[in-house]
Amino acid sequence: MPDPGRYPGYDVLRKRHTPSWNDKTRQVVDARLAVPREPRFFTGQEMAMVTAIADRLVPQPRSRPPVPVAALIDDKLHKGHEDGFRGDGMPREREAWRRGLAALDAEARARHGAGFAGLPGPQQDALLKRMEQGGLSGPAWGGMPSKTFFKQRMAKDIVFAYYAHPTAWSEIGFGGPASPRGYVRLGYDERDPWEAAEARDGDAGDAQRKNRNVG
């Protein structure tokens, strides 16, 4: 039986038709849920690599449909949305991703004789850790600091993609969209009936009952 989690039975999407969601919110979240799974910016191989990296950075339970992290990043890069700044030695976002993935793959082949996506988890983690610490600097990086790529680009885009998804909001008990209806109860341990109930002291049943009525 899958772990019911901290907020058993809570699904933020059940609020979609309530006053917590305005039309604009429905429109943008619907579009996100329908994000094309076929890459439009990445190649198929790059896409597989992004998925492999995301599996290490934001591992997902197998008991539910995964958040399509790679597809959401592909969508952003396809549309050309940028952060609005980059560090010294950092190319623009599309180029940074292309180069960073190729360089990581080259490191994987040089050290382990196989592409990144095909490595076992611990070896992938070790490479990512080195990247985070700025310890990768092969020629394929083209002078781009691996640490900056990790922090400013790769990790950031991955967590931003994951936590843009309603599945992730439900997982952490976030209230999600809240306009025009906001919140009324603001103090410690105060929950509006349209917020997630947390399973505490092992009482998942009570939380589950409350979460079924969230709306």
């Binding site: 901290r6 979240v29 290490r56 950075l57 609005g84 700044f85 809240a178 919140y183």
Partner: protein, 547 residues
């Protein structure tokens, strides 16, 4: 018809969007490009939007341009972090130095209303001594402004925005009553209050620019907590829903999606108008006066990009100080977890504050800081965890499970002005073919001492309320200021006390870039107060024939 305000301008044909009614319009006066208007203003944020209102109400003809779109919050804003990144200035910029700053969402808006469309609404007055910090406190630079005069203009802004604040403010000289009552505390703010009480320092409800009672067509804050991604209810008193509607009613014209690339100067060396890009081509607007109000990166960039044979270093730059003495504010935090649920996503992020360390001079460093309660939304919070806390994989997912139990305290701290911090032009070009800004930032020892002091104090404050898993976020900064500072001497400043450039007397700068020092409070109230003062001064000078 597509009605995406990012794709086609909304203001024009005699009308502007009515920000209070979906799909509706208000009449707007328009001016021809060949008709020299009294003032063309570049940027419609805290500085430009406020000044446009004041000048129009004083009877001047005003065209105010903004590179960003003209939103109607009620129909255009989603309750969604990702979607609302459309509020930020995301054109290419390079950030470098020993402590490169994050730009984009962290400090730069691009919309009619500027960064106030996504600001956190904290509305604080400077400590009076900061206007003379060199003379009275021994660091930084003196402002050419008098604090008592500023006190008068702060009051004007607080009334215009119906600031909700406490009945008595614990620090500084007496101030008049805040127009609206303070908001109730959320759990995150109660944590700040309890920590302060345990540490023996005062706290108060944060004076904040969101309504605690109905006002006109806007209803009060509904405590939805998406403030820094734009307020879809209009409770937030941004320039977009306050100064700009007033400006239009008084006869100003707003041009949205209008990117100014160059300020033109004539044979006499005076400004003649601006070249701007709108609807696919470059245009020229004639003006008797040009006001630059693009904030601390874009203002210096535009002045530098407007260089001519006569002004090879850029406009208003005989001092060589355009783009120099840029200041951010320290924005470090201490985070922890409470046994009880906090759910800090509810309500505006900073509902309680202490300014204790702004008013205590027994410290071993210059400057001060305030700190406030926090309420990061999930994307921002996860990025803080991976980038500042170094968590990923299972530890990250575990930590995120405790999202509803997080509490945090975050400073707004004074960094010292340094000549080496600033804006220059890079080789790279943006989508208009204009050189992009290169921003360099490095902390000095005093900045580091202030940060260390604040982290130590906040850590104790969280410990005192039995928070667990306490950790320090050591690297964050916020708000930009400086880059074209005001002063009393043309050799050491770019503009005078009236925001008027020393070199080109019909060129003005009215935004956060005129700050000589930053102080330890959020800047927008001061920017707006200066703009109100500038508007009144321009009227006086015009009456006396001194323009």
């Amino acid at each position: 018809m597509s009605d995406d305000p990012r794709h086609a301008p909304r203001a024009g044909h005699g009308r502007a969007p009515d920000v209070f009614r979906p799909g509706a319009w208000v009449p707007m006066r328009e001016y021809g490009e060949d008709e020299a208007v009294d003032f063309v203003i570049v940027g419609t944020g805290a500085g430009g939007g406020t000044l446009a209102c004041k000048l129009a109400e004083h009877g001047f003809s005003v065209v105010a341009m903004d590179a960003g779109p003209y939103f109607r919050p009620l129909e255009d804003f989603a309750s969604d972090e990702a979607e609302q990144s459309k509020l930020y200035w995301t054109d290419d910029r390079i950030s470098t130095g020993e402590n490169p700053i994050q730009l984009g969402s962290n400090n730069s808006g691009k919309a009619v209303g500027g960064s106030t469309v996504h600001f956190a609404m904290v509305s604080l007055r400077f400590r009076p001594e900061w206007f003379k910090s060199r003379t009275l406190l021994g660091y930084g630079f003196d402002w050419p402004l008098d604090w008592q005069e500023m006190w008068h203009y702060y009051h004007e802004v607080e009334e215009a925005l119906k600031i909700a604040g406490p009945i008595t403010y614990p620090w500084g000289p007496p101030r008049p009553r805040y127009p609206y009552r303070a908001h109730p505390l959320n759990a995150a703010a109660m944590a700040l209050a309890k920590g302060c009480e345990a540490m023996g320092v005062a706290w108060t409800e944060t004076p904040i620019a969101t309504l605690s009672a109905p006002r006109g067509l806007a209803h009060p804050c509904v405590y939805r907590g998406f403030c820094v991604t734009g307020c879809s209810t209009n409770a937030k008193q941004s320039a977009l829903v306050t100064w700009i509607p007033r400006a239009i009613a008084a006869g100003a014209e707003i041009r949205d999606l209008a990117m100014v690339g160059r300020v033109e100067t004539g044979p006499d060396g005076l400004a003649t108008g601006v070249h701007y890009h709108r609807e696919g081509r470059w245009r020229f607007q004639k003006a008797r006066n040009v006001v630059v109000a693009g904030y601390s990166i874009e203002t210096p960039r535009l002045l530098l990009n407007s260089a001519t044979a006569r002004y090879p270093q850029g406009l208003a730059n005989s001092s060589g100080l355009v783009g120099k003495y840029l200041m951010v504010q320290a924005n470090q935090a201490v985070w922890g977890k409470m046994e009880a649920e906090v759910r800090s996503y509810k309500a505006p992020p900073s509902l309680a504050i202490t300014e204790h360390w702004n008013y205590d001079d027994n410290k071993d460093f210059f400057g001060g800081y305030c700190y406030m309660s926090q309420g990061p939304l999930p994307q921002l919070w996860a990025n803080t965890q991976i980038n500042a806390h170094g968590l990923w994989g299972e530890p990250l997912m575990q930590e995120m499970q405790d999202y509803n139990h997080q509490v945090g305290l975050k400073i707004v701290g004074e960094m010292l002005p340094q000549e080496r911090n600033g804006v220059t032009l890079a080789e790279d070009k943006d989508q208009y073919g204009l050189p992009v800004p290169r921003v360099s930032y490095s902390w000095c020892d005093n900045d580091k001492a202030l940060i260390a002091h604040s982290l130590g104090f906040m850590e104790k404050a969280l410990g005192a309320i039995d928070a667990t898993d306490i950790w320090r976020q050591e690297d964050d900064t916020c708000h930009l200021n400086g880059g074209a500072r005001m002063g009393g001497d043309p050799r050491t400043s770019v503009v005078d006390a009236d925001c008027r450039s020393w070199d080109i007397r019909n060129l003005w700068i009215c935004d956060g870039s005129v700050f000589p020092t930053v102080g330890g409070v959020n800047p927008s109230l001061t920017i707006q107060a200066i703009a109100c003062r500038t508007g009144d001064r321009i009227k006086q000078m015009a009456t006396r024939g001194e323009l």
